[in-house]
């Protein structure tokens, strides 16, 4: 929130207090709707309804959403303010006394206690909200600021919040933001321009679970002998999002369009398979 104006910060707060959305989600929504708070809030609630999914999925989503909204209403009053000290206490529980950061062991413990698997997408989501720079470690600033932003003081808060954070990814802009973060995060070294095949193949299932019809085929493709050595560029990583949304089968695809070359090759291979 540091690079936002006062006015914008206020708007973010207003948004989150009504929708209980995470800060990141709020920023993305507001950006998308030109910082018109009411419009953004309106769209936020509409979004879970308006999706181009099949009717059953739609019904399920609607049911889920309604249930959740009911849950939210029945919950104890939303937290609008959290105690930084409590967060710090939590941090100290896991920190490594030598480095002053939470290291790998601590992270593992922390996540397990939150009910999150280290290798699951939720762990990435948390890192994202924290803006963590490396995998397997949280600095004090990252941890504390992150938990503050998502308004969690303790493990119970987190356990409650985490599914909510995951649902936020249904929003297009939020997901794209998350996706870009994961790329940077996975690269680790900012001087590298590409991602290794193995890392990408491990991450994609987490990101696209349930969202990408051709995911299994996509992974199979990248595990082929000739593709194992190939690296994934940022361009490919980002355009993949659009790809998963628009292309469901071979018929939808037009190789004359602007897709990157690897996607063209994937579709070619896919067609041969049939």
């Amino acid at each position: 929130m540091s690079n936002l104006s006062n006015d914008e910060r206020n708007k973010v707060n207003r948004f989150t207090s009504i929708t209980n959305a995470s800060e990141k989600r709020a920023i993305n929504m507001l950006k998308t709707y030109s910082w018109n708070v009411d419009r953004a809030i309106d769209e936020f609630f509409n979004q879970t309804d308006k999706k181009s999914t099949s009717f059953n999925e739609y019904q399920k989503l609607r049911k889920d959403n309604l249930e959740r909204q009911k849950q939210l209403k029945n919950q104890k009053p939303k937290k609008t303010w959290v105690d930084r000290n409590k967060i710090e206490v939590l941090f100290n529980k896991y920190k490594d006394n030598e480095t002053g950061q939470i290291e790998y062991d601590g992270v593992e413990k922390f996540l397990t206690q939150c009910g999150v698997d280290l290798m699951a997408v939720e762990s990435l989501i948390l890192s994202w909200h924290m803006d963590a720079q490396i995998m397997g470690a949280y600095s004090k600033k990252e941890f504390c600021d992150g938990l503050f932003k998502i308004k969690c003081e303790n493990l119970e808060d987190l356990k409650e919040k985490i599914p909510f954070l995951k649902d936020e990814l249904a929003d297009k802009a939020t997901f794209e933001d998350f996706n870009s973060y994961v790329f940077k995060f996975a690269k680790e070294d900012p001087n590298h321009r590409v991602l290794d095949n193995t890392i990408a193949v491990a991450l994609w299932p987490l990101l696209y679970d349930g969202k990408f019809k051709l995911l299994d085929k996509w992974l199979e493709f990248w595990k082929l002998e000739e593709n194992k050595k190939k690296t994934i560029s940022e361009d490919l990583w980002t355009t993949l999002v659009e790809f998963t949304r628009t292309i469901k089968s071979v018929e939808d695809y037009d190789p004359m369009e602007a897709w990157p070359v690897m996607i063209d090759e994937f579709m070619e291979w896919l067609e041969e398979q049939n």
């Binding site: 321009r193 361009d235 190789p255 369009e257």
Partner: protein, 747 residues
Amino acid sequence: MNKPRKLRMIIPKQKLFNEDKTEEIEELWKTISNGIQQILVIPITEIDISIEEIFRSCYRLIEFDKENLLINRFKMTIEEYANEQINFFQSQDDSIFLTTFHEKWNSYRLKNMILHELFQFLNNMFLSRTNNNTFSIYQNSMKKWRSQILTTNDNFILLRLIRIINENINQERNGEVTDMSFLKDIIQMFIDVSDSNLDIYTNFFENKYLNISSLYYQMESQDLLLTNNCGIYLNKVQERLKEEEIRAAQYFNTQTFARIQSNIINEFLKPYIQTLMTMDNGLNSMMSKEDFGHLKLMYHLFTKVPNGTETLLQVFLDLHSKRLTEIIQENKKKIVGRSPPKFIDHLINQRTQYSEIIDKSFSKNKDFHIAINAQFKTLINQTKDFPEQLAKYLDRCFRFTFLSSNEEEIGKIMDSIIIIFSLLNNKDIFKRFYEQFFAKRFLSGSSVSENIEKMMIAKIKKIQGKQFTQKMETMLNDIHNSEQETIDFKKFLTEERENDPITNIVLNFRVLTQGQWPGLIKTECQLIPELQEYCDIFTGFYIRKHDGRVLTWKFSIGSAEIAYSMNNKKYTLITSTFQMLILLLLHKKNEKISIEEIMEETKIEEPILINCIKPLFHPKHKLLTRAFKKGKGFNKEDQLVFYPRFKSNTRRVMFPRTIRTQEKRERLKTIEKIHEERKLIIDATIVRIMKSRKSLIHNLLITEITSQLANNFVPSISSIKKRIDSLIEREYIERDINDIKLYKYLA
């Protein structure tokens, strides 16, 4: 016929009779009637009546208001007369019937015309009185003839006439002699008795005529098809068309010709177009025999059939494509070899032939030209290594073929090559290989003539622009300048170094511009001292002359002519510079020399040296042999000697520079270089376009790139996409966040 004739009559005054008019009227009528009868029955020359009297009587009757009586009696008279005629036609032989009918009709018609003319005044008079009925004697008589004669008895006579006519026409078609003198009049009769829609003519005569003709031609076409000769068939069709045209002009109404013509087309041509073309003596054989006349006829006739020319084009294209594929398959020789594939010759011939046919027989139809060119273009661009083969063919032309051709032939071949070149997709490959062959020709002096080379370059420059031919022009310039340098150098030698004993060797120096000549690989090489000294003198001379320039010696591309004798026979050996060094060293050593020693003296690297030596061992003109045979491969210890049984049929013996596998490797390298170059060109083009447009969507970018590069080569979409991906990665361009189809330039 209907010219109103004014009659001036002098009618004496008459007393009006009030009583006994009927008698008077009958009297008057009798006069008239007599007159009519006379005209009708007696031959014209013998008519002896008083026209005046008749007119007077008519006039009187009209005064008595007896116009209707007059008219009715007129009608009746003519009717009676017509009825009489019919008896003549009852039971007669066809030919007699015909002649009689013709006669009778003619006289009937003529006489009624006369009557009509004579009594025209009645018409005029009536017009002045009533505004309705106009009594035309002629029209009336025609009606009578029609109803009394032609159409009575269920059109008996009419049908009979038509039958006879058609029989006669068919006889004429069969080539028999028939008398058709009656036909014109009878047809005219049909027209005359018809109403305004030409009903008798069209419904009775014409229909029947067309039907019978169709039948006739149907049978004829079947018979002709059996002969299985397309040419004869087409000739016949043309003949029949002409025949009908003449017949129609002579006898029929204009509409009939159009109808009979389409009749013929339908019966003779339309159903059989495919059959005709694919017959044994059909399109294919006509084309190979260059039967332009028949081809022209075929085209001309097929234009009359709906979709005829399209079908012809289809079959024509099929033949073209078959023949082209045949040529390409038949001549798949290996690409690296001495003799280039002959099929370029065949292709050129093919092209000329088809072009000629279109020009001479298919009335230069543009669609045909376009279709053939398109097909040709597709096929040659699908053929593997075609641009290279074309360049190789051109090389051969410059080395040998043009030697024995006159200017016209050379021009023709060049023009054909230029046309084929312009159809190439990958012109850059052709360019590279052309440059390479060009360089080799000029360095070894094996081109037929510099002027011819210049001609070719000029022709290419016209189509491609001067950048394309820039390298070759520089090379030509270099050669020119080198000649000048050589002259100057010789002068310099005679003037300033008179006493130097280097004049035994004739050295030709060539000064080449760096970067413009292909294949200048740097290799280490040290000359024998005499040659080296010579070269140094030249270097000194040149640098003094051109201040600031630097010369680097490239001995790898030089060539040498060596005077050699073995077994009392004198030869001139043509070798590369390296090979020359080897031979000179061996000669100096006198008996044998090892490869290692040569390496020491010349500093040439082992693999390159061995590749130079191998051609000298070739069984065709084995020059060297090894002192101790040690198996297949060469190695450093091998001792080389002059082969004592060397012989050659020719005085001048050429030795290849290096072995085939080396040539193959060089060739692959060239192709690789071309592909690398293309990547860079595409990159540069993309950046240039994006820089000027700032942002552009994907499809437009592709179109723009393709059109800018079209003159050079045709890039595949996937290769363009790869370059785009690479440029995105290198952050020259980026995708728009909201629209992945939009690219933006990154400054």
